[in-house]
């Protein structure tokens, strides 16, 4: 397929077809998703030898397995006999070996074929236990960072550590918030089906101009309810205090700032965020000081981007210990998973806060997520209008400053982060 990418992405605008054209979506799978570092999961999902879960990377079925030695391996979820998917999607288990439920071929945890029932029927060197030809295929590139798992479906390209570098301080900030310096997955995962292109999510998540419009009614509703207050207990009061900042002023968001760097990465906030005003549990503070020392504890809590994007599949929220990952399903269909983390060494109230925020904001039954989703849906349908071809990303054009860690910074409401995403997108898509 010949795509004239230069015609689709301009410095200040992108062509509507990047969101609506099935051929471009297909090219994204081949050129961008297959060749990018993607989110896999967190090692705490599979603590013990034989623990395994199934997921999708781009559109590929994948197994993630804890090896006896403690290593983690990523294998294609596809039997080498006739091709059956070994585990159903989004399931997990603890196994001694991987057994295909069709004809009973048994693979070791590392993917090596161990047993073929009635093996005598096969001659030759290829189809027999131990043969490379019938070992489960491994995902070529795999990397970890302090418990987080990443992979790439096609080998080659940027090193993982270089890829992570621009956002590493923010990811580390999320992890360091654990008094013990470690996270673990907890509290369940939300799966939310979106009827829209996946890229809307990554723009919206750094879009500081939308909350006071899209989330105004929820935020004001919470403020009104908080004012009346009579029957509000502490738990629900916290819920209201989470919703309230969604309609913070433009200057609040501008001041929060944004930063963007290589590979389309970027984030909103840092010194401040809509989470900055949450009360800090004194027990947590004590634990944090105990774990990191007072100075580092202070430094950790004084920083915390609202939303950080590890393009093109990850958004995480360091201050509230959660991560959202996109699973693209089609040009106008995307599944978004929300994962929650327990800060090891922290009191339960921290996880409770994370889960409460997610129930209110990320759930498909909340009063925040569906409004964002409706915006995406109407983007998808509005961009069918043939009268106007361009989506504008011109705000604060040219107004960037050099920032630490190879990043550039801009006011919080700038479109710089979107220009930065599309620069990386265009780079990837221009490679056949």
């Amino acid at each position: 397929m010949t795509l004239d990418i230069a015609q689709l992405v301009k410095p200040d605008r992108v062509h509507r077809s990047v969101y609506t054209d099935p051929a471009i979506y297909q090219a994204e799978m081949e050129r961008l998703l297959r060749r990018s570092w993607l989110y896999v999961g967190h090692e705490s999902q599979i603590p013990n030898s034989g623990d395994v879960f199934s997921t999708r990377l781009a559109d590929q079925p994948i197994l993630v397995i804890r090896q006896p030695g403690g290593d983690i391996k990523l294998l294609f979820n596809r039997c080498k006999h006739k091709g059956m998917q070994l585990m159903a999607d989004n399931t997990q288990g603890c196994v001694k070996a991987l057994r295909c439920g069709y004809h009973g071929w048994i693979y070791g945890l590392d993917g090596t074929l161990k047993t073929i029932p009635s093996q005598a029927g096969y001659q030759g060197a290829e189809i027999k236990p131990g043969s490379d030809a019938v070992a489960l295929n491994a995902v070529p590139d795999f990397a970890q960072h302090r418990g987080f798992l990443f992979a790439r479906l096609e080998s080659g390209g940027v090193d993982f550590s270089d890829w992570l570098a621009p956002m590493r301080p923010s990811l580390d900030n999320m992890i360091d918030r654990a008094p013990d310096g470690e996270l673990e997955v907890a509290g369940g995962v939300l799966r939310y089906e979106h009827y829209c292109n996946w890229k809307f999510f990554f723009e919206n998540t750094l879009d500081a101009l939308h909350p006071m419009v899209v989330h105004l009614s929820s935020s004001k509703g919470a403020q009104r309810a908080a004012k009346k207050g009579a029957s509000v207990d502490a738990y629900e009061a916290r819920a209201l205090s989470m919703l309230s900042p969604f309609s913070a002023s433009y200057s609040f968001f501008d001041d929060m700032g944004q930063r963007g760097g290589a590979f389309g990465h970027g984030e909103l906030g840092g010194k401040s965020s809509i989470h900055a005003s949450y009360d800090v549990d004194p027990d947590y503070w004590d634990a944090l000081v105990k774990g990191h020392g007072k100075d580092k504890a202070k430094a950790i809590l004084s920083y915390g981007p609202n939303n950080s994007v590890l393009y093109p599949t990850i958004m995480f929220k360091a201050p509230v210990a959660m991560l959202r990952v996109i699973r693209p399903l089609g040009v106008d269909r995307t599944m978004i998973e929300t994962w929650h983390f327990r800060l090891k060494g922290a009191p339960d109230s921290l996880l409770e806060q994370t889960l409460q925020y997610s129930t209110i904001v990320n759930s498909s039954a909340g009063i925040v997520g569906p409004d964002d989703h409706e915006a995406y849906r109407r983007m998808q349908s509005g961009l069918k209008a043939q009268a106007a071809d361009w989506v504008l990303i011109a705000r604060h054009a040219g107004q960037v400053e050099k920032d630490g860690n190879g990043l550039q910074s801009a006011p919080g409401t700038s479109d710089f982060v979107f220009r930065n995403q599309f620069a990386a997108w265009a780079d990837a898509m221009a490679q056949p």
Binding site: G188, S217, G221, A225, V232
Partner: protein, 157 residues
Amino acid sequence: MTQSKEHIRAFIAHETWLLNTQAWDEWTALFSPAGAYWMPLTPAQDSPKNHVSLMYEAAALRAARIARLKKSDGLSVETMPRSVRHVSSLIIDSISENEWHARAAVMMAEYARGEVNTFHGTVQWHLQASGSGLVIELKRVDLINAEGALSDILTYI
């Protein structure tokens, strides 16, 4: 005052009718001051605090949602969702003289932006006598596919 099962049955039919006719204010008034509406994410979930839920709303959050629904204020509710619930096979157990546990099958169909979406599960109520009537301490809805990939749920089930 002690309630007969027939009263409780009528109370629940009334609660359903209020939801089915989008009488949100009267509906939320059926709850006790601390009464909550809960849609857990997993069937075994015993608390909204240690696990993420699809929805957990006591009075204040319900008021916020209801204000949106009544004024169609919010992108997702702009087209004024209309929904109906089917509650069946109700079983009522006494917990104490003034307290009951009720359970049933429930299905909800929600119409918004030209589409009808349906949701299936079980529903449970923890009810208490209050003056001459009843109040809801907790209404819990467990969807069979709560852990699956769901799309928007805009009203209560």
